[in-house]
Amino acid sequence: MLSSKAMLDGHGEESPYFQGWKEYEKNAYDDIKNPTGIIQMGLAENQLSLDLLKTWIENNQDATRLTNNGESVFRDLALFQDYHGLPAFKNVLAEFMAEIRGNKVSFDPRKLVLMAGATAASETLMFCIAEHGDAFLLPTPYYPGYDRDLKWRTGVELVPIHCLSSNGFKVTKFALEEAYQQAKKLSLNVKGVLITNPSNPLGTTMSHVELDELITFTVAKKIHLISDEIFSGTVFENPSFISIIEAVIDRKLEKTDLWSRVHIVYSLSKDFGIPGFRVGMIYSNNERLVSTATKMSSYGLISSQTQYLQSKLLSGKEFREKYLEENRNRVKERREMMVVGLGEAGISCLKGNAGLFCWVDLRNLLSSNTFTAEMELWKKILHEAGLNISPGASCHCSEPGWFRICFANMSQETLKLSMERMKAFISKQYYCM
C-alpha cells in the first residue's frame, strides 16, 4: 500500500538512541513535578547561552520588529520565498563562519545554500552527489541521525571507517583504506567521505595529521569530502579547530579539482542553541552543486521570519565575538563539571575540547566485552539510574562500552543531580560485582 521507504525502518527510530528519548518522554524529569524521572542526557542541545540571545533581542527591539507605524517589513517577509535566501542573512552568516575559524579562511555568501536544518542539508548533499546504491564512508563512531539523514530517502549506503580507542578514535590511513576495500567487496561505488569535525560523539577536533590523511585519500580516490562542522562554535580550547577548507588551502590544493569536491554542512542549532528555528546550510565551491542544491532547497526553505531575525541577531560583529567567547567558556565549564563528576565515580572520558557531550568509558562496567552487555548496561542506567545516555552501538562504535553523555541541555543543578545518580549507580555496580 505504501512505498518501500515508508514500510521499512529507514527512519532509524528503532535504535536505542531514539528509544531512550521515548522512555524519557514517558517519564521526564522535572525538579518539582517529577524529581525521580529520567534525566535526558541523550540530546546534544546547547541551552547554555540562550540568555545572551534573549538579552540582545530585548535591547534591540527596533531591529527585530516586524511591524512599525512607519514601515512594515512583515509583508515583504511574508512574500519572500526566493530560494537564494535573504542576502543580508547570508552575508552575516559568511562573516560569522569566518570568525568561528579565527578568520583564517573567508566564506563567499554566494556559495552558501540555506535549508531547514542540517538534517535537510546533509540529505540534499547526498541527492546531489550520489546515486541510489552508492556509498559514503564515515568514521565511527558517528551521529546516529546520519543513518536516517543520509540513507533513508536517498538509497545511499554508509560504510564505516573503524576508529579505535587504542589511538583515541583518530582516523588513520589504514582505516580509510580498509573501509574503501570493504566497500569494493560489497560492490559499492564510493562517492565520498563524510566527517564530523568537531566530532559527534567524541567531542574532539580533528588533528592536522588526520585532515591531511583524509585529503590525501580523497585526492587519490577522486571522491568528495563533506565536513559537517555543526559544532565548530563549541571549540573551547586547544587543539584549535581546523576547518576542512583551511586544511585544503594549507595543502595548496585550492586550484585543483579537489576544491570542487569539498563541502561543508553547518547549522545554528548547536552553536546558538536554536534547533527549533531550523537554520541549516551547505557551503560548497562546486558551482553546479550550489545551483542544484539551491533549487532543491525549495523542499525545505528557512522561514523568512527566522532568516530576518537571525540576520539582525548576527549583524553586529561585537555581539558575535562576545557570544562566541562566552558560549565557549560556558561549554568548557560544563564539560569540566561532568568530567570531574564522573571522575569522582571512577569514570574516565575521552579527552575532548569541543561539542556538547563527553565520550565516556564504561567498559569496566560491562559484564562481558560485547554489545549485548552494552545494551544491558544502557537499560540499567536508563531504568535504575534514571539517566538517558546514548550507547556507543547506536553511534556504530566498533568497541562496546563507550557512551555519549550530554551536558549542555540542562541546568547546573540537574547536571549535579545526574552526576550524583551516576555515582550512586556505579558504586552499586561495583558493590554487586
Binding site: S3, L53, L79, F127, I129, I274, R278, E287, K295
Partner: protein, 478 residues
C-alpha cells in the same frame, strides 16, 4: 572550460545534472524575463508586470493590524520574550501542540466548519512543495506513477518527481466541457498506464484548481472517490486554495465527501499550506493531513527534513487561535478576492477576452485561442513571447501546465495593487486591439493574394488562422 564543466557534472549525481528541477520550462522563463526588467510604477513604468506568480497580496492590512494588537505572537517582543527559550529549543517533529490545534481549526473554518480536523493527523513540511514530496516518498516507489488531471501546476513536475523517481501521467481534460475531470478520462489514463506496465499508486487533484480557478462539483468528487476506491489507489487532494473561494459554487473538500460515502480512508490525503490563503509563502508552512495512520506515523518522521520554524509555528498558532480574527480574515479575504476578480474579469471582457468561468484561486484561465496563428504549441509559444516581450506581461502559457489544447494562459490577479492592475488591463486591451486588427489585416492580405491568383478553392482560405506558405512567421520558424 567545457571540459572542466563536464568533469564537474560527472562528479555529481544524475538528479543533480538532469533537468528534473523543471526550471527550463517556459513557466520559469517568464519569471526570468520579469526579474531582468521588473515593472515599477515610478522607476520602471515600461517594465514587465508579473502576472505569473500566484500570490495573495490583498489581505496584509488585516494581518498587520492584528500583529500590532498582539505583540505576544512574536517571541522577539517584550511581551513575547518569555517564550523565546522554549520555542527556540523545541524541535519535536510533532510540532507545537498549539500550532497543530490552530491549523486544524483553521482548516475546518475555511470549510465553513463542515469538517472537523484532528490535530494529531497534521504533519508539518517545508511548504506545500515539501508536503508533496513527502507524501510521494510515503506512497510510491521510483518508477511508480500518479495520475494528474491536466492542466496542472508546473511545480508538480519537480515536487513529485525530481528526487523521488515517480512519474506523473496526465488525465486529459478538455475545454469542450470546461476541463471537467471525467470518469472516462480517468479510466483512459489508468488503462494506458496498465498497457505500458506502469504501476499507478495514486491520483493527485488540485481543488480548487490551479490553473483553472474552479472548484470540483459534487458529482465529480464522488466519481473520483469511487474511482480511487475501485482501483485501490491513493487520492491526494491539494487544497491549497481552499480559502480563496468567493461566490458560488461553494468549495467541497474531499474530507466532506468521505463522510457521505463508502470510502477506504487509508487512501485519502490532503496537502495544504498557508501560502495562498493567507499570503505567507515566505513562512513555509506546509501541511500533510492524512487519514492513513501509517502515513501519519512515517510522514511525521520524514518531516524532519523540512520542519516549520518554531518561531513561525508560534506566530501562526497565536494568530489562528484567535477565532474572531480568523472569521474576519476569511470573510474579508474572500471579499477582496471577489472585488479584484470582478474588476479584472470585467476589464478583460471589455477587451474581448474570454476566460473560463471561475470563483476561486488567484488567477484567470484566459482563452486566447483566437489570437493564435494556428492551433499549435509553437503558435502558443510565439504568442506568449510576444506577450512577454512586447506587451510586457508575464503570463503563464497553458503548455507549461500540460494543457492538451494550445491557446490558454494563466493570468494572476492577486499579486499586485489596483494601479498596477489597471496598467496591466490597459496593456492587454491595447494588445488585443492590435492583434485582432493585424490578424484581420493578414487574413485580408492573404485573401487578396489568393483572389489575384484565382485559387478560390484553396483550403487554407477557409480558416483565417492558418498561415500561408509565404507568411513571414512560417519563414521565421524554419
Amino acid at each position: 572550460m567545457g571540459y572542466m564543466c563536464n568533469q564537474q557534472t560527472q562528479l555529481l549525481s544524475k538528479i543533480a545534472t538532469d533537468n528534473g528541477h523543471g526550471e527550463n520550462s517556459p513557466y520559469f522563463d517568464g519569471w526570468k524575463a520579469y526579474d531582468s526588467d521588473p515593472y515599477h510604477r515610478i522607476e520602471n513604468p515600461t517594465g514587465v508586470i508579473q502576472m505569473g506568480l500566484a500570490e495573495n497580496q490583498l489581505s496584509f492590512d488585516i494581518i498587520e493590524e492584528w500583529l500590532l494588537k498582539n505583540p505576544k505572537a512574536s517571541i522577539c517582543t517584550v511581551e513575547g520574550m518569555s517564550e523565546f527559550r522554549d520555542i527556540a529549543i523545541y524541535q519535536d517533529y510533532h510540532g507545537l501542540t498549539e500550532f497543530r490545534n490552530a491549523v486544524a481549526k483553521f482548516m475546518g473554518k475555511v470549510r465553513g466548519d463542515r469538517v472537523v480536523y484532528d490535530p494529531n493527523r497534521i504533519i508539518m513540511s517545508g511548504g506545500a512543495t515539501g508536503a508533496h514530496e513527502l507524501v510521494t516518498f510515503c506512497l510510491a516507489d521510483p518508477d511508480d506513477a500518479f495520475l494528474v488531471p491536466t492542466p496542472y501546476y508546473p511545480g508538480f513536475d519537480r515536487d513529485l518527481r525530481w528526487r523521488t523517481g515517480v512519474q506523473l501521467l496526465p488525465v486529459d481534460c478538455e475545454s469542450s466541457n470546461d476541463f471537467k475531470i471525467t470518469r472516462k478520462a480517468l479510466e483512459a489514463a489508468y488503462e494506458k498506464a496498465q498497457e505500458e506496465k506502469i504501476r499507478v499508486k495514486g491520483l493527485l487533484i488540485t481543488n480548487p484548481s490551479n490553473p483553472l480557478g474552479t472548484v470540483l462539483d459534487l458529482e465529480t468528487l464522488k466519481s473520483i472517490v469511487t474511482f480511487v476506491n475501485e482501483k485501490n489507489i491513493h487520492l491526494i487532494s491539494d487544497e491549497i486554495y481552499a480559502g480563496t473561494v468567493f461566490g458560488s459554487p461553494g468549495f467541497i473538500s474531499v474530507s466532506e465527501i468521505i463522510e457521505e460515502m463508502e470510502c477506504n480512508r487509508d487512501l485519502i490525503h490532503i496537502v495544504y499550506s498557508l501560502s495562498k490563503d493567507m499570503g505567507f509563502p515566505g513562512f513555509r508552512v506546509g501541511i500533510v493531513y492524512s487519514y492513513n495512520d501509517d502515513v501519519v506515523n512515517v510522514g511525521r518522521k520524514m518531516s524532519s527534513f523540512g520542519l516549520v520554524s518554531t518561531q513561525t509555528q508560534h506566530l501562526i498558532a497565536s494568530m489562528l487561535s484567535d477565532d474572531e480574527f480568523v472569521e474576519n480574515f476569511i470573510s474579508k479575504n474572500s471579499e477582496k478576492l471577489s472585488t479584484r476578480y470582478k474588476r479584472f474579469s470585467s476589464g478583460l471582457y471589455k477587451a474581448g477576452i474570454r476566460c473560463l468561468e471561475s470563483n476561486a484561486g488567484l488567477f484567470f484561465w484566459m482563452d486566447l485561442r483566437r489570437l493564435l496563428k494556428e492551433p499549435t504549441a509553437d503558435a502558443e509559444m510565439a504568442l506568449w513571447r510576444l506577450i512577454i516581450n512586447k506587451v510586457k506581461l508575464n503570463v503563464s502559457p497553458g503548455l507549461s501546465f500540460h494543457c492538451s489544447e494550445p491557446g490558454w494562459f494563466r493570468v494572476c490577479f492577486a499579486n499586485m495593487d489596483d494601479e498596477t492592475m489597471e496598467v496591466a488591463l490597459e496593456r492587454i486591451r491595447s494588445f488585443v486591439r492590435k492583434e485582432v486588427s493585424a490578424k484581420r489585416q493578414r487574413w485580408q492580405d492573404n485573401l487578396k493574394v489568393r483572389l489575384s491568383f484565382g485559387r478560390l478553392d484553396d483550403p487554407h482560405m477557409r480558416s483565417p488562422h492558418s498561415p500561408m506558405p509565404q507568411s513571414p512567421l512560417v519563414r521565421a520558424r524554419t
